[in-house]
Amino acid sequence: MAADNLPTEFDVVILGTGLAESVIAAACSRVGQRVLHIDKRNYYAGNWASFTFNGLLAWIEEYKQEQQRDVDSDDSWREKLEEGEEPLLLGTVDTSVSNLQIFCYASEEPEEEEEVATPVATPTPESAATSTEERLAQGHAAATEEIDAESEAPPTVDTQSEATPTEGRGARSQATPTEETEAQSQATPTEETEAQSQATPINETEAQSQATPLESQTHVEPEQQVQREEPEGDQSTSNEGDSAQSEEPIPPSPVETKKKKITYSKILKEGRRFNIDLVSKLLYSRGSLVNLLIKSNVSRYAEFKNVSRILTYRNGKVEQVPCSRADVFGSKQLTVVEKRMLMKFLTFCSDYEQHPEEYLDFSERSFWEFLQTKKLTENLQHFVLHSIAMVTPGARTAEGLRATQHFLRCLGRYGNTPFLFPLYGMGEIPQCFCRMCAVFGGIYCLRHSVQCLVLDKESGRCKAVIDTCGQRISCSHFVVEEGYLREEQRKNVTYRQISRAVLITDRSLLPSESEQQISLVTVPPQETGGPAVQVIELCSSSMTCMPGTYMVHLTCPSSGTAQEDLAPLVSRLFAEPPSAEEEGEVDGEKPVLLWALYFNMRDSSGVDRSSYSLPSNVYPCTGPDPALGSDNAIALAEAVFQQLLPDEEFCPPAPNPEDIVYDGEGPQGEGAGFGEPVQPDRGTDRVMRYSVVWTEKRPFWI
């Protein structure tokens, strides 16, 4: 729907589509509130989003633009104000991401002939000059669209911003007839053929040229390459040497290694197979997010995979953590006595409240000290502290026991580890809630924001908002992602930072029989006082990376820039590809880096609502935190919902499609004015595809 004919009255306006905001949207819509949910970006989920590779490049580009953007002073909102009202302006610049650094290790030369039939167009200034908007559109279309061949047609900006969340994957039928014709008429014949024949060489070249942002950037800003540690010469020469190297054809190596080398152009070409999370999280099987997904029936919109193993980094090696009974039984690295001691300790933790005599003496001391007294060998202490409890060495005994118990209770519900990972990335989850909101009549508009709030001078409450089209929309409540607020409103707020690294590698950190493993790697602080790093390694069947590669996410609370925090660990865990001369002489043990991205993200999770100076009916939502689970966001969403609608149930189960009554006319007719209220999914194969069978297994520890 075009943004300029939105209804002018809503119960709740929500700005930002991160997890907390999306859950609030779904919860409000579910109990009958009229919800307008908007986001100034052209993709869902804000800082929780997942991108295709090309989408991520576009996001990076957007970030750079954001850095240089001037604050435009558009005063059009003034005329919408009435007597007795005053404005509260929102910010226009997103400063939540910083210190972004990219490193490309994969060979940037074109692929071998047989891979690409037509010669790959080298990046040209013209292609680089394609309007940002177009590139963004294409890139982000991929973010929300992807996968299904049928839906690969790049939608026009308009339809796309209205596409129902997660709808992109193949459900074209949801668009109203009028919109469809619109979309068709907008598309020029050429575009159409292009859209239909994505696989043709022409399009491939286009895909190549899409990559321009990055490539031009690596040339324009050579200082970002410094970290590649070219030992010889000054920067400019080293860079020249670099490009010279890449122009040389690879000398045909006598022994063709088992694996085909993955080049950068290959990654670009297969870019749609990537779903790269901005925040890297897992779902605790009995955590608040999973419980909410089940309770609300939102789970039917997503598919999950079990995290298949827990690894840890100890004494310079990556090893598997035996955490379930089956793991302990099958472990080859533990002696039988260690098995017994570990099982005994874990069994105790699973109902530690029943045995207060065991730990009460330690209530004032650290969990680590407590572990010392439990006859656990050194490696078992490591496993429990860093990989099972996942607490800092200074954590109190009670905290450690609670964390261990939570871990154990999550075991065995869906498999041998306590965690689930959503297929296609964590960015799916906010979209699932948006979809639920839309199913119950919530209206969505992307690339749309709010310029200012209209406050009633007398009560100080927010009466309405004025959107970026200058339209005044009245509302009783306004929920906003914290990042949209201006400096004035968050004067008293101090933020922490999250350090993130996103890596594409060529093999697993711990190769095993199966290549398809999703692993959580816990890395304890490498120096005392430093942060523990969470590493999540995803395989291609998690639908987050192309076959033959692994997607590795590193996360820790920042002490410096992401690169300062994480690069030392990255170099310990991974190898850089050899230069052309020393071909094949890589450290055979370590996975080879193909591509890496570092950035910092603001961690506003600890901020209390009272730190913001806002009207009482405006609810700020903090962004992602560095924790492994999403409990903070869910707790926040529930708390906000309870303030908004204290008498309503939070996310009651949505009815099953087969329980919904359809009677031809009626509701559908009425709703036509605001665009079709999204048809409840009536047993379409989409629903079938996304529904998860939530089998309750016998709790493992009983």
Binding site: R34, V337, M343
Partner: protein, 552 residues
């Protein structure tokens, strides 16, 4: 109002669910009826196979259908070519794998799987022998890996452990067996190399969860249960009463095994009776020789007992001037009791004992672990470990009080075994078991030659019928027990003295078995409730006229 979703009422939903269930039930019933009628008609076609498959995958506990399926498969074997049969059975295995994934502990599915793997064409036919053996081996190995997988994901599964125990002897038979392994040769022992691997596996299981019985049961199977060889362990002959007694290593029915007695080269027709009329199977059998056969002590006799079925025999020479004679195994302790466990390598047992002791340190309360330690100690050195064994039994009674009587009986058994071992070394016929907290008597067949037995100061409640095997017994001391009945004092031809002080004999009728012991002259009944009976003296004089020395 826009965007509101209309819902069916709960009643409507219930109704629909009910209909859904009814529909499913109808389909199921129809298929079941079709199956039954097909079976009635004797149809053994592929369609029936499919029908049963449908039904069984939704309900694997339908034993009749599994049976029908086996009938069909057996029929298919006769009408199809061998390769096809192989294929059919392979499909069967993958079908079963599906069933077991849904319901990993279904007995029906496991049984059928075992049956199928035994039916898979084995080594038959000279020309394709090697090929078939390879195929058979491959299937069996796949089956073993299948149990590996199931045990790996959750080892609390008796069925998969048990299935393993049926596969291992086939795949890794003990080396000395010359026959090629095949499903038909049922060997129960496993080669040592594989055995060690299994010990490791099962140790991992019981160290991981020592309270899980399934692993301990499998462990017990691995340690084995030796079956003693059947043989004649002793032949005893006495001039007095002209009796001959034969003891076997295991209870047999002498009337049906074809016993033949040859005296001085002449086969003799005799009537065999067991030590007590209650036993149809007994390790001890007695016969009276025709009067005059061996009564003259100036003659020397050679007696031979032939066990014709087994082609074994035992000789016994009765020399001039001797009133009795016997011939028996110079039985060492090894053969007598140690063979409870079949593992022969002491080093293996020793290391098993070590790991169990290690586990016990961590889990002092674990009964499975303690019991296994006791068994291992028995197998290694029953006398040397006697003190530890007794202590472990105390622990067992403590931690598993529900079974304390079982442990007492088991402990009694071991104590008696130990005493017998000591007696064997000493070559004596006087036997004392006093003060050993015995609750039961066993191994009495080993005491055939004992003349004096002291079982005082125990917790015995009865002298069981087996006691009648002590055919040479002259003096019985059984003071300070809680004996109520004397069934076992039956036809003991040489019994002269019985002391039953401080027991629980309360009725005169309880003494009735003693009437069958002709030589009984001294009986001590002091401290028994029966002494309160009026006219006891006269009643006893009537009941037991031979008793001259009666203490009341």
């Amino acid at each position: 109002m826009h965007g509101r979703v209309k819902l069916k009422s709960t009643a409507q939903q219930e109704e629909e669910k009910k209909k859904e269930r009814e529909k499913k039930l109808k389909v199921y019933k129809a298929a079941r009826d079709a199956c039954f009628s097909k079976r009635k008609e004797g149809t053994m076609d592929v369609e029936a196979l499919q029908l049963t498959q449908q039904l069984l995958s939704s309900n694997p506990d339908f034993a009749t259908l599994w049976n029908y399926r086996r009938e069909i498969l057996l029929h298919q074997e006769t009408v199809r070519a061998e390769e096809e049969v192989q294929k059919v059975y392979e499909e069967e295995l993958s079908f079963l794998e599906g069933c077991l994934k849904v319901n990993p502990k279904s007995y029906g599915s496991w049984h059928h799987r075992g049956w199928v793997s035994s039916r898979i064409p084995g080594p038959t036919g000279a020309e394709s022998w090697a090929c078939a053996t390879a195929a058979w081996r491959w299937t069996t190995e796949t089956e073993l890996q299948f149990t590996d997988r199931l045990i790996g994901s959750n080892f609390s599964n008796y069925s998969s452990w048990h299935y393993r125990s049926t596969l291992l002897p086939l795949l890794h038979p003990q080396a000395h067996e010359r026959d090629p392994p095949s499903p038909s040769t049922h060997s129960h022992s496993v080669c040592e190399e594989q055995l060690l691997k299994e010990y490791e596996l099962v140790q991992n299981a019981f160290f991981t969860d020592p309270n899980d019985q399934s692993a301990w049961f499998y462990y017990r199977w691995l340690l084995g249960r030796a079956e003693r060889e059947e043989m004649i362990s002793c032949v005893y002959v006495s001039r007095e009463g002209e009796r001959l007694i034969v003891a076997f290593s295991r209870p047999v029915n002498a009337l049906s095994v074809g016993l033949l007695l040859v005296v001085d080269g002449q086969p003799l027709n005799v009537d065999w009776r067991s030590a007590h009329p209650r036993f149809r199977h007994s390790p001890v059998w007695i016969c009276e020789l025709p009067p005059g056969t061996i009564s003259d002590s100036s003659n020397e006799h050679n007696l031979t007992v032939h066990w014709t079925q087994r082609h074994i025999h035992r000789d016994c020479a009765l020399y001039t001037g001797r009133s009795e004679s016997w011939c028996r195994d110079s039985a060492t302790d090894q053969e007598l009791f140690r063979s409870d466990l079949s593992v022969e390598k002491t080093s293996v047992l020793q290391s098993e004992l070590q790991s169990c002791t290690q586990l016990l340190e961590l889990e002092p309360q674990n009964k499975w672990c303690v019991l296994t330690i006791v068994l291992l100690m028995r197998a290694l050195d029953p006398l040397g470990y006697e003190r530890e064994t007794l202590a472990h039994f105390e622990t067992l009674k403590d931690v598993d009080s529900m079974r304390s009587s079982y442990y007492s009986d088991l402990c009694s058994k071991f104590m008696i075994e130990n005493t017998i071992l000591k007696m064997e070394y000493a070559e004596v016929r006087v036997f004392s078991l006093s003060g050993k907290k015995l609750t039961t008597l066993c191994h009495l067949d080993q005491l055939l030659l004992v003349t004096h037995i002291n079982i005082s100061s125990n917790q015995l409640q009865t002298l069981p019928p087996q006691f009648a095997m002590l055919q040479c017994l002259e003096v019985l001391e059984a003071d300070d027990n809680v004996i109520e009945s004397l069934y076992g004092l039956y036809h003991l031809p040489r019994l002269e003295e019985v002391s039953l002080k401080n027991n629980q004999i309360s009725r005169i009728s309880d003494l009735k078995p003693l009437t069958t012991c002709p030589k009984l002259t001294r009986l001590d009944l002091r401290g028994n409730p029966v002494t309160q009976t009026a006219n006891l003296q006269s009643e006893l004089a009537q009941l037991l006229p031979s008793v001259t020395d009666l203490l009341l």
